[in-house]
């Protein structure tokens, strides 16, 4: 057989590279899935010791005793939920206000600088929020915010219990405030995006009926983007639940459940971060990894449902367009 023509060898080479390249993209796509599966499996394997030892009892009490190897997740679980709830109570109205400001009120020339400033907040690393929270926010809370809360809200029956005790500065409330600032840009971004999806015709119809700008926001834009709003809130919640370094700095790392939100507490992530290096017994490490598993389940459910809602929102938009 005569020598293969040049173009044929080129064609073969191109075809061969095609096979390799396609396989590489395919494997990489699978890698993303394998990573998630890997995280789940290692967390379960790593905490098998305490899962089998304590069973569901792990979730029902708040003793955490490395000496007797007796562990319960209630205190960090409570701290995680309560700090995130505080963060949401502060961040959601603020994010809503900022999103409305940016989409409805803001003059065009000011829109870019302001949205950039809010988005840059998301780029600041967690550790910087931590050191800022510890040296700036905590003293501010201790000197002005907490004494005011104790004096004015602490005596109201019912909610008063939440604001009693000495002003420590660091604690559950301070952690919630720092978390609120951290998740604010993420919630704002989702709100803005879903607000701008509202069909122009709907808004114009409302204006035609004599609605004020706020009427349009509240009675047209908000109902239309309801799913997206809930999705954005849950996305922020998912972030707040798993935030580690900033919370470790300001929550006080005390394994207890206090009725007052001014008191020090702990969260799942903060507990793992502050104790992992010192864990000596296998059961202690296993208990900390089981906390990680708990955090994974919690955040996965919340983030996954948030994403599903936002996806539905996208699809709804596509149908209308």
């Amino acid at each position: 057989m005569a020598a293969t023509p040049l173009y044929l060898s080129t064609l073969r080479r191109e075809a061969r590279i095609e096979g390799i390249f396609k396989a590489a993209t395919y494997i990489s796509a699978w890698t993303v899935l394998l990573l998630l599966a890997g995280v789940i499996i290692t967390l379960i394997v790593g905490s098998w010791l305490t899962i089998t030892k304590f069973g569901l009892g792990f979730l029902t009490h708040s003793k955490w005793n490395p000496v007797e190897d007796n562990y319960g997740a209630l205190a960090p679980l409570y701290g995680t939920v309560i700090t995130s709830v505080i963060a949401m109570i502060i961040a959601v109205p603020l994010s809503f206000g900022i999103a409305v400001f940016l989409t409805e009120i803001c003059p065009r020339w000011l829109r870019r600088p302001i949205s950039t400033a809010i988005e840059l907040l998301a780029a600041i690393p967690s550790i910087v929020f931590g050191i800022w929270g510890l040296f700036f926010m905590a003293p501010v809370m201790q000197r002005s915010v907490q004494p005011w809360l104790i004096a004015h809200v602490g005596s109201i029956p019912g909610v008063g219990n939440l604001f009693q005790g000495p002003p420590y500065g660091i604690g559950v409330l301070t952690a919630g405030v720092v978390l609120a600032i951290m998740v604010l840009p993420f919630i704002t971004a989702v709100f803005r995006e879903v607000f701008t999806m509202t069909p122009k015709s709907l808004k114009e119809a409302a204006y035609g009926m004599g609605a004020t700008q706020w009427n349009v926001v509240w009675d047209v834009v908000v109902p239309w983007s309801r799913t997206g709003i809930i999705g954005g809130i849950m996305l922020g919640l998912g972030r707040a639940l798993g935030e580690t370094m900033a919370v470790t700095f300001v929550i006080g790392n005390a394994n207890r459940i206090s009725s007052s939100i001014l008191a020090p507490g702990t969260s799942i992530a903060a507990k793992i971060a502050s104790e992992f290096a010192e864990a000596e017994s296998a059961a202690h490490t296993s208990a900390l990894i089981e906390l990680g598993l708990l955090l994974f389940v919690l955040t996965f459910i919340i983030i996954a449902s948030a994403r599903l809602m936002l996806l539905r929102m996208d699809r709804g938009k596509a149908q209308r367009a």
């Binding site: 590489a24 907040l121 550790i127 990894i289």
Partner: protein, 284 residues
């Protein structure tokens, strides 16, 4: 008050509230930047970049921590970026409508907001426990895993911006998909992909929780990637929590350096992407 009057009144109140919310958000950013600047600039000198981390009471700098952070970020992005770009290419090009892509897209978005501490625990169990000690390589792997979802997301978004007609043009000339993707689609999406790369670097260079379980820290100058290595986030954490004034000052300086780097990178990435957006809309 008439109904219209009431509505106009609530309109004003609501918009004042929204403007105030924005003011609160902006002032949060400036409060952080101001505190960082005033504490981080104080006593800043070349020593910070040339000397290694000191024992309590003596003077020193952050050179070993800066070196470690740069090295691990680079190694992380070198591992993470190719996987992220290839996976993004798969879901945007080859498997656009496949079931695998739908699942990968969804799981990737979940990973994007998943707590980074869990990635740290994962790499700890998979690498650190098996090898028997902490190492810079384990840290780089953790950072790579965190950068992958960022790269997948931006790659897919940027490839989707490239018009399908130029793919058809390339295919009509007889090019294989890989040839079309590497010679036509990637160059067209270049700016956007560089933006994604910069955002991924910004994201991982400030990560601290995963490093805690993988590289730990090192007080001394070390270039051995198979051993614990100094890094900025862990040094900031240890020094800020310490009772020594010298260490706390170094923690602030470290926080200032890392934030300045990340913010500059983010602003640069942003201006690059807006440039890209303009090119797109003008039909280039």
């Amino acid at each position: 008050m008439s109904n219209l009057g009431k509505r106009q009144f609530s309109n004003v109140i609501a918009f004042v509230a929204c403007t105030m919310a924005t003011a609160v958000g902006i002032s949060a950013l400036f409060a952080i930047l101001w505190v960082l600047l005033s504490n981080g600039i104080a006593g800043m000198s070349w020593q910070v970049f040339t000397q290694t981390t000191p024992a309590p009471g003596s003077s020193g700098g952050l050179s070993n921590a800066i070196f470690g952070s740069v090295l691990m970020t680079l190694m992380g992005i070198l591992i993470g970026a190719p996987i992220g770009i290839l996976a993004g290419t798969h879901i945007a090009e080859y498997g656009r409508r496949s079931a695998l892509s739908t699942v990968v897209r969804f799981i990737n978005d979940v990973l994007l907001s998943a707590p980074s501490i869990l990635i740290g625990l994962f790499v700890y169990t998979m690498v650190v426990v098996r090898v028997g000690h902490f190492s810079a390589i384990a840290g780089a792997i953790a950072l790579a895993i965190i950068s992958i979802p960022v790269m997948v997301r931006t790659t897919e978004d940027m490839l989707n911006l490239v018009p399908g007609s130029i793919r058809d043009g390339s295919a009509a000339l007889g090019a294989h998909p890989w040839r079309t993707i590497s010679s036509i689609v990637y160059p067209a999406a270049r700016n956007g992909m560089i933006t994604g790369l910069m955002l991924a670097i910004a994201r991982i260079s400030g990560e601290s929780a995963p490093l805690m379980f993988t590289v730990l820290n090192n007080q001394f100058w070390s270039t051995d990637a198979t051993r614990p290595m100094a890094n900025l986030p862990m040094t900031i954490y240890t020094y800020a929590m310490s009772p020594y004034a010298d260490w706390q000052r170094l923690a602030w300086q470290g926080a200032f350096i890392i934030t300045a780097f990340i913010l500059l990178l983010s602003i640069l990435a942003r201006s690059l992407s807006s440039l890209f957006g303009k090119h797109q809309s003008s039909g280039e």
